[in-house]
C-alpha cells in the first residue's frame, strides 16, 4: 500500500502532533483531509493545500460522512477531563469513526494511544504485550477502553487497524512536555524529585510522525500495537536541565523522593487558598521516580523504525522555535513568529 496513491483523513489534525503529521502527509499522500472545528482554521488550511471538513468528534455524525472515499484514517483526537468527556472522544468517537472506516472499506485505521494504558505499577521494562490497567485517570481508562474496542473490531470484522502508544512526546508546541515545562521552570514552579534519576521516556514529535506514517502504509504493521518511543536513556535531571539551560537557569529546586509526597500534600493544600498551580503534584512524583523503560524493539524489528532525534538534537530544534515564539529570550537575529506567517 502506497501513501502517494492514498486519500488520507486525519482526525485531530490541528493539535500538536496532528498538525506536524498533517504537514508531512501533505508531502507524501495523494490528498489529505482534515476535520476542523474552527472555520477560520479551515480557510487557512485550505490555502495550504489541505481539504477540510467542519466537524468535531464530540458529534460523531459530523465526522463519519467524511470517511467515505478515504484510504487511510488517522485518529489522533484525544479527550481528557471527566470520564464522560474522555469517553465521548476516546471511545465513542473512535467507535463511530472505526465503524465508518469498516463500512467504507478503509485500508488502514491508525489509532494514537498512550503508554498510560499500562497503569502505574510497572516492571523495569514494558513491552507491548504487557497487560493493560483497569484503573486510573479518566484519560487512561478511556484509552484502555478504546484500545479494547479497536482490537475487538479487528477480531470481529478484520478491521485493518494499527495502534501506536507514544511515550512523552516533546517538541515545538508540546503543551505538556515542552512549553508547560518551560513555563514551570520560568516561574520556579517545578521540583526535581529524587535527584532526577527517574527515566523520562521520550520521543521527539517528528520521530513519532515518521512512525505514524510508517504504520499507515507498511503491511507488517497491520493488526499490531507499537510503542512510539526513543530508546535513548534520558533521566529527568537531564531533561529538565536541558530546558533550564535554554532559560539560563542554573539550578532547579530539589526534593528527596521520601519528602516529595509531603511537600506535594502541603503545596496542594496551599494552592486551594492561593488558587495558583502547585510547584509539585502527584503526577510529577510518579513520572520523575519512574524506573520503567518502554521497549522500542518491536517497531525496530518489524518496521525497521529507529527514532533519529535524541534529546540534544530535539532541544536544539525546540530552542529556535521557543525564541521565535518569544517564550525564551530571543537572540539578535530572531524574528518573532506571527499567525499571519502561517500562510
Amino acid at each position: 500500500m502506497s501513501l502517494s496513491n492514498s486519500r488520507v483523513l486525519l482526525i485531530g489534525g490541528t493539535g500538536f502532533i496532528g498538525s506536524r503529521l498533517a504537514r508531512q502527509l501533505l508531502l507524501q499522500a495523494r490528498s489529505v483531509v482534515l476535520t476542523v472545528r474552527n472555520l477560520a482554521d479551515s480557510a487557512l488550511l485550505e490555502r495550504q493545500g489541505f481539504e477540510t471538513h467542519l466537524g468535531d468528534v464530540n458529534f460523531p455524525e459530523t465526522i463519519t460522512p467524511v470517511v467515505k472515499g478515504c484510504d487511510v484514517v488517522f485518529y489522533l483526537a484525544a479527550g481528557s477531563g471527566s470520564l464522560q468527556d474522555a469517553r465521548r472522544i476516546n471511545v465513542e468517537g473512535t467507535r463511530a469513526v472505526l465503524q465508518a472506516a469498516i463500512d467504507n472499506s478503509v485500508e488502514r485505521f491508525v489509532y494514537a494511544s498512550t503508554v498510560a494504558v499500562y497503569g502505574e505499577t510497572l516492571p523495569e521494562r514494558v513491552t507491548e504485550d504487557f497487560p493493560l490497567t483497569t484503573a486510573g485517570l479518566p484519560y487512561t481508562v478511556s484509552k484502555v477502553e478504546a484500545e479494547k474496542l479497536i482490537l475487538e473490531y479487528e477480531e470481529k470484522y478484520q478491521a485493518p487497524v494499527v495502534i501506536v502508544r507514544p511515550t512523552l512526546v516533546f517538541g515545538p508546541g508540546s503543551a505538556n512536555w515542552t512549553t508547560g515545562i518551560i513555563d514551570r521552570l520560568k516561574y520556579d514552579k517545578i521540583f526535581l524529585i529524587g535527584n532526577g534519576q527517574g527515566i523520562a521516556n521520550l520521543i521527539y514529535v517528528d520521530d513519532l510522525v515518521e512512525l505514524l506514517i510508517k504504520v499507515s502504509s507498511d503491511e507488517r504493521a497491520l493488526g499490531r500495537v507499537f510503542h512510539g518511543t526513543n530508546p535513548e536513556l534520558v533521566t529527568w535531571k537531564e531533561y529538565l536541565y536541558g530546558y533550564a539551560d535554554l532559560l539560563g537557569k542554573r539550578h532547579i529546586p530539589e526534593v528527596s523522593r521520601r519528602m516529595a509526597p509531603r511537600l506535594c500534600a502541603y503545596c496542594t493544600m496551599e494552592s486551594r487558598f492561593t488558587r495558583l498551580s502547585p510547584p509539585i503534584n502527584i503526577y510529577d512524583i510518579g513520572l520523575q521516580t519512574n524506573r520503567t523503560i518502554f521497549d522500542a524493539e518491536k517497531a525496530k524489528t518489524i518496521l525497521q523504525f529507529e527514532p533519529k532525534i535524541g534529546l540534544k538534537e530535539g532541544l536544539r530544534k525546540i530552542e529556535s522555535w521557543l525564541r521565535e515564539e518569544g517564550m525564551i529570550a530571543p537572540t539578535s537575529r530572531t524574528t518573532f513568529t506571527r499567525a499571519t506567517q502561517r500562510d
Partner: protein
C-alpha cells in the same frame, strides 16, 4: 444621592448569573422590580435578590423604575426597549440590541427624543484584560484582529430555547456570539467595517447557522473571526501588527495579556511579556459604567455609531445568507 431604581425584564440565565449580581453589588442601585413571564423564575429571583416588586407584564413596572435591563429573547428586545424609552426610562439591553438595523435605528431615535440612555450590553468591552490588549495595540496600524468564540449551546443554562429559532433569535451563532467579536473589532479599530467574507453553516441541520467565519476589513486592517454554537472553540483574541502581537482570552477575565513586540527592548531582552489585570467582573464594570452614564449624563462607551455599524454587518450577513 437618590439611588437608581432598577428593573430587570427577563430573568433567565444571563440576568441571574451576570446582570443582577453586578447591579446588586453597586451601592447606589436598588433592585426595584423584576419581570418575567414565568412565575417560577420570578419567585426564585425575588427570593435570591430581594426585588421589592415582581410582575409578569413589563408595562406594570414603568412607574417604579428609573432604568431597566432588558435580557429577554432577542425578538422581544425592540418592543420592550421601545416601551421603556417612550416612558423616559434608561435602558441597558443585552446584545443583540434588536434583530435588524431598521429597528435599532428607531430605538436610538426614541432614546434621543426622550433624553435617556440606551446602551447595549457588550460585556467584552468591560473585561480588563481585553481593555488592556486594546490599549497596548491601539497605536499600531495596520493590524489584524483574530478571534473565536464557541461552545455547545446546550451547555448554556438557558431557560428558553429561543436561540434555535430564527424568528425569535434573528439568527444563530453570529447574532448570539459573533456579535461580540464584531463589536470588539469595531471598538478596536474605531472605524466603519466592511464585510469582505462570510461563511455560515448549519452542520447540525437546525434552523439557524451553527458555525460561521467572518472577515471584516477596516481602514487600518482587518478582523478574522469564527464562532460556533456547537463546537468548543478556543476563546482567544489576538491582535497582530507589523512588529508584534498581543493576545488574551475572551471568556476568562483572569487570563493575562501576552505581548511580544520586536521593537520593545524588554521583549528583545526577555521574550514575551505577560501582563496581568485585576480580573474584576466585566458585568460589574459594565453596570457601574451604565449607572455613571445615567447619573452624570455622560456618553455610553458603546456608542450609537458603533452599534449601528455592527447592525449593518449583521443585516448584510443575514441578507446574504437568508434572514
Amino acid at each position: 444621592m437618590t439611588p437608581l431604581m432598577l428593573g430587570v425584564v427577563g430573568c433567565g440565565a444571563i440576568a441571574t448569573k451576570a446582570h443582577i449580581p453586578a447591579f446588586k453589588e453597586l451601592g447606589n442601585v436598588v433592585l426595584r422590580a423584576a419581570v418575567d413571564v414565568r412565575q417560577d423564575l420570578l419567585r426564585d429571583v425575588q427570593g435570591k435578590f430581594k426585588f421589592s416588586s415582581v410582575a409578569t407584564d413589563y408595562r406594570e413596572i414603568a412607574d417604579l423604575v428609573d432604568a431597566v435591563v432588558v435580557s429577554t429573547p432577542n425578538h422581544t428586545h425592540y418592543e420592550i426597549a421601545r416601551f421603556f424609552l417612550d416612558c423616559g426610562k434608561h435602558v441597558l439591553i443585552e446584545k443583540p440590541i434588536t434583530t435588524t438595523y431598521a429597528s435599532t435605528t428607531e430605538l436610538y431615535e426614541t432614546a434621543e427624543a426622550n433624553g435617556v440612555k440606551l446602551m447595549v450590553g457588550f460585556s467584552r468591552r468591560f473585561s480588563e484584560n481585553i481593555r488592556l490588549l486594546r490599549e497596548i495595540t491601539d497605536p499600531f496600524t495596520p493590524k489584524t484582529v483574530f478571534a473565536s468564540l464557541g461552545g455547545d449551546i446546550k451547555n448554556w443554562p438557558a431557560v428558553s430555547s429561543y436561540r434555535t429559532s430564527f424568528s425569535e433569535a434573528g439568527g444563530g451563532c453570529i447574532i448570539d456570539q459573533g456579535i461580540h467579536l464584531i463589536d470588539t473589532a469595531i471598538w478596536f479599530f474605531g472605524t466603519k467595517p466592511h464585510l469582505s467574507e462570510a461563511k455560515v453553516t448549519k452542520i447540525m441541520g437546525g434552523e439557524v447557522e451553527d458555525n460561521a467565519f467572518i472577515r471584516l476589513t477596516f481602514e487600518d486592517g482587518e478582523a478574522i473571526f469564527s464562532c460556533s454554537s456547537t463546537f468548543g472553540l478556543d476563546s482567544e483574541l489576538k491582535v497582530e501588527y507589523d512588529c508584534g502581537w498581543a493576545k488574551t482570552d475572551l471568556n476568562n477575565l483572569r487570563t493575562p495579556v501576552t505581548y511580544l513586540d520586536e521593537r520593545s527592548l524588554l521583549c528583545r531582552a526577555t521574550g514575551r511579556l505577560e501582563l496581568t489585570t485585576g480580573g474584576t467582573d466585566n458585568y460589574l464594570n459594565q453596570a457601574r459604567h451604565f449607572v455613571e452614564c445615567v447619573r452624570d449624563g455622560t456618553d455610553c462607551e458603546v456608542s450609537k455609531k458603533e452599534v449601528m455599524w455592527g447592525m449593518e454587518v449583521l443585516d448584510e450577513i443575514y441578507r446574504g445568507y437568508g434572514r
